[in-house]
């Protein structure tokens, strides 16, 4: 239990005052000044004793894994329990991330569960290795700090927003897929009708109600359901043009596009230009894992070339459509995606709205859709 004592600015002012009174007392004929000095010093002593005792008697629950979204209040709750009979107040709970919460008063023998007040505006995974309990109770002369080791993290998801999902391709039958095929199937959710029983049909497909009418045995038929595949390829390159903010915009855009695609029942795979980071999400799956992946994604200073990109594309499903979320583009890249597009690959390109790539974009194939992302929206030309 590491305890540290600091003097506040108010405390320093009063120390300065004490020094002045002491100088005054050197020439004064009365010793009564020492009583006044004693009272002020007594206040320091009380500040020290009450604060130390109060902070030592508080137990704080560990701040484990807390999930939140950019700009929103976290759902993390930290419990405080005061075992002493005396109240303590003016407590702030700090960490390497800053002040997490503030407690005005914690009465003696009481327990409080307080939500983390700090709002995180940028996505990321913030590790909390220690917590610092601070208090200036009751006079504000001394600030006592108590360090508590903690093993926790705050995962700040990128803020996702509604947007149009990129075109998917490589549709395959899948139960629950919202795209309907022309064929009928004996299983699925979308009931299409009945047909005559043919040999080999499993008994469980028999539509008993229709069969009971005496016109023969009928089996159920369902509309065939398809879901497509989408690969979101993110640009993690660190460049002066791609500042941290724009990168965060791109992550939000990736999350929002992936979420929209998942809502439509597509398989989504998120990767980067070098194919180093890869995350797969099945249709209708819980998006928390994907958001956590996006929260932890970092820019890289690794060198990049088209060869890396080619390798990354090869690893992706052949039929999946590609959504490039780029921070900046150049001619080789345009030429490469034009080539890919010519091979029949469905491609969508997302660029920062602030970017000015008119010369490059003029060379872009007209069949490649392009969009621009901002802080919290995606728009077309």
């Amino acid at each position: 239990m590491a305890i540290k004592v600091n003097i506040t600015r108010t405390g320093l002012c009063f120390i300065f005052l004490l020094m002045l009174i002491y100088l005054f007392s050197l020439m004064s004929q009365t010793g009564l000044l020492y009583i006044i000095m004693g009272i002020i010093l007594g206040i320091y002593v009380i500040n020290f004793l009450v604060c130390i005792k109060g902070l030592k008697s508080i137990t704080v629950s560990e701040c484990g894994i807390v999930n939140t979204t950019e700009g929103e209040i976290t759902d993390g709750i930290i419990s405080f329990r005061n075992f002493s009979n005396k109240a303590i107040g003016f407590i702030s709970l700090n960490s390497e991330l800053g002040t997490l919460l503030y407690i005005k008063n914690l009465p003696g023998k009481s327990e409080r569960h307080i939500g983390i007040e700090k709002v995180f505006h940028d996505r990321g995974i913030y590790h909390i290795n220690y917590l610092i309990l601070e208090s200036v109770y009751p006079f504000g002369f001394l600030k006592i700090k108590r360090k508590i080791f903690n093993n926790g993290k705050i995962v700040v998801y990128p803020k996702i927003y509604y947007c149009q999902a990129p075109d998917a391709s490589g549709f395959e039958p899948m139960l629950g897929g919202i795209y309907k095929g022309i064929h009928k199937s004996t299983f699925g959710d979308d009931f299409a009708g009945v047909r005559k029983y043919t040999e080999g049909d499993p008994l469980k497909y028999i539509h008993w109600k229709a069969s009971s009418k005496g016109q023969g045995i009928f089996v159920k038929e369902f509309n065939e359901e398809f879901s497509g595949r989408l690969s979101v390829i993110m640009d993690l390159r660190y460049n002066v043009h791609g500042t941290g903010n724009i990168f965060n915009h791109s992550v939000r855009a990736a999350g929002s596009l992936a979420f929209s695609a998942l809502e439509l029942g597509h398989h989504v795979e998120i990767t980067d230009l070098a194919g180093n980071n890869r995350f797969k999400a099945s249709p209708f799956s819980d998006i928390d894992e994907m958001l956590e992946y996006l929260a932890g994604i970092q820019q890289t200073k690794d060198e990049f070339s088209i060869k890396f990109l080619e390798k990354a594309i090869i690893d992706l499903p052949n039929k999946s459509s590609l959504a490039f979320i780029m921070l900046f583009i150049n001619n080789p890249f345009i030429e490469y995606i034009n080539r890919l597009n010519n091979t029949g690959r469905k491609i969508t390109l997302y660029l920062p709205k602030e970017s000015n790539y008119i010369l490059h974009l003029n060379r872009l194939s007209s069949s490649i859709k392009r969009f621009y992302f901002e802080k919290c929206s995606i728009c077309s030309d």
Partner: protein
Amino acid sequence: MQRLTKPENLFILVGLICQAFTWDNHQHYTFLIVFFLWIICCLLHSSRKIISDGVQFIIILSALTFFYSFTGVNIFGKCISLGNGLVLLQLIRLTYQLNYRERILSIIIAITQIVIGTQVILGYSFVLVISATLILLPKSLYQIQIENIEPNTKDSIGKFEFKNRKFEFTVIFLFSLLFFIIFPRINIESNTNLYSPFSRYRDSLYLNKPELNTSLASLNENALKDNDIVLQIHMDGTKTKYLEIMSLDKYENGLWTISASGYLKKRNLADRFNVEKKNYRKIDIKNDKFKSKFLPVDGNVQAIEGNFFDNPYFTRNGDIIVNNNIKRKNKSYEYWTSYKFNSLSSNDYRRYTKHGDTSQRIITFIDSVTKNSKTNNDKAYAITAYLKNNFKYELGVPKLNEIYPVEDFLFNVRKGHCERFASALAYLLRTINVPAKVTVGYLVREYNQFGEYYNVRTQDLHAWTEAYFKDKGWVIFDATPVSERIRTNEDIGILKKISDYFEYIWYSKVINLSFGDQVNLLKSINDIISWFINIFAKGLSFIYYLFTLMIFILIIYLFKHKFIRKLLKLRFINKKRSIVYAEHFYGDMLKELEKQKIIKPISATPFELLDILKKNNFIHYNEAKAITIIFCYIKYGNGYMNEEKIKIIQQNLNTIKINKKKYDNE
């Protein structure tokens, strides 16, 4: 009303009142003015500033400049003046809502004003100031902190009141006391005027003028009404009743004065280490008005030391004259006297017997009074006794005849105050060729047995006669008749003496606690500790055991809850928590039984459940019984849960749970 009772505002008021003390602490209207201004400013309080920052700044700067430039002649004076300027700032700031920094500044200014006030508040009223500071300062700081966090708080966190913060207030009080006692005093002596031109001390009254003449003139009764303590004397050796200020050796035209040669230095005073130490006196001057160049002493002074003068010397009249009577507080001096006396030179003999013409009537008077006396010594006693027994003490008697004052006094008026008797006796002694002088000084009568000191008050001023005899030296003759006005030691009540003693303690041990006193105090503590160590070393077992027992009882008393519990590891849990624990464990047992398909009927008592278990031949009936008994003992009896019981319950519960696992496996 809330504004008026706010601790912060009250503390500011204390500061303002302390500052007002520097104006004039005898005139209460200054306090009333400050008080009413404070009330008005508190009532004018509004959320917005009445006067803008710029105007405020100009007003304050002007006030500070004025007070700094035109008042106060030294650092103290300047401080007081600045404090006066800050009064204006404090009052202005009461009228609007301050932010955190401004509020802290107001508190600092109030402390500064209290500090300035302590330079003039030396009496018991300072106890009130300290009490107010002790209570209001922590409360104000706490309130400021709360309102800094929650501006419009309505006691959501609670007030810093004495009833719920006894520990805090006690610690602050004890710490201030400890700091006051043990913090080493360093005092830089300064010959500075403490008071500003506006001070009440600007017109000092010289009670004892060096050029004082005593005559046979009238003395107003009001002159001796002042009852202030002037001197406080500690005596070692022979006690004296007469403390001499000056001797008047010259008689001319009915007036007694000090002759030119009376001022002359007779000898230097020796170093204190080189004198034969017979009688020792330490005199504290308790009244600022005492400014005489003549120091009150008794006997033949050999050495003298003091903290307010330079170059003391012994005059030919036997007085002590000092130079540079510094104006400062806590004046004191000490001196050593011897029984030796010096014989008079022929010049001095002539000087002390010079008396002018004497009328036949006076000679006849002396002859008639001293007809039975043979020696001069006897004659002196006879005349003294005659005056004392046949004359009357009275103040305010009309003036005597200016040409024949002695005759008028002896044969017509026959009454008067001490100076008349002393003058007349000295004159009469000189007529029979006995060297004599009139001595003015204090009559030491008031002894305080609690503090073992003598008090000398203004009204103890007295005059008597000293006569020289070859074989005895200077002898005191006091011809003044006994009067009701003259108090005796017995006249002073015990309560008065106790209150005087407290006053003595307050001034000498509180206000003027010196480094020497601190050292003595630490020595005393050291002595007490040494005494105890010696007692233990000598093996005085009774005191040792008594002391140990007392310490043990004290420890038990102080730590009766926590310490003993920890020591014995019993850790009794209080009743409420015990029941919670018991219910918790019993509930656990019921859950286990439920899992084993033994459900307690709702109406069944714990012991009925035991009967059910017994009927069902429950394997761990004994364990369940043990838990049930402890549960009932705690919940329905007066039992408490302790670690031992918790251990038993947990063991039994574990046995039941293990049994359940075996049952499941089977």
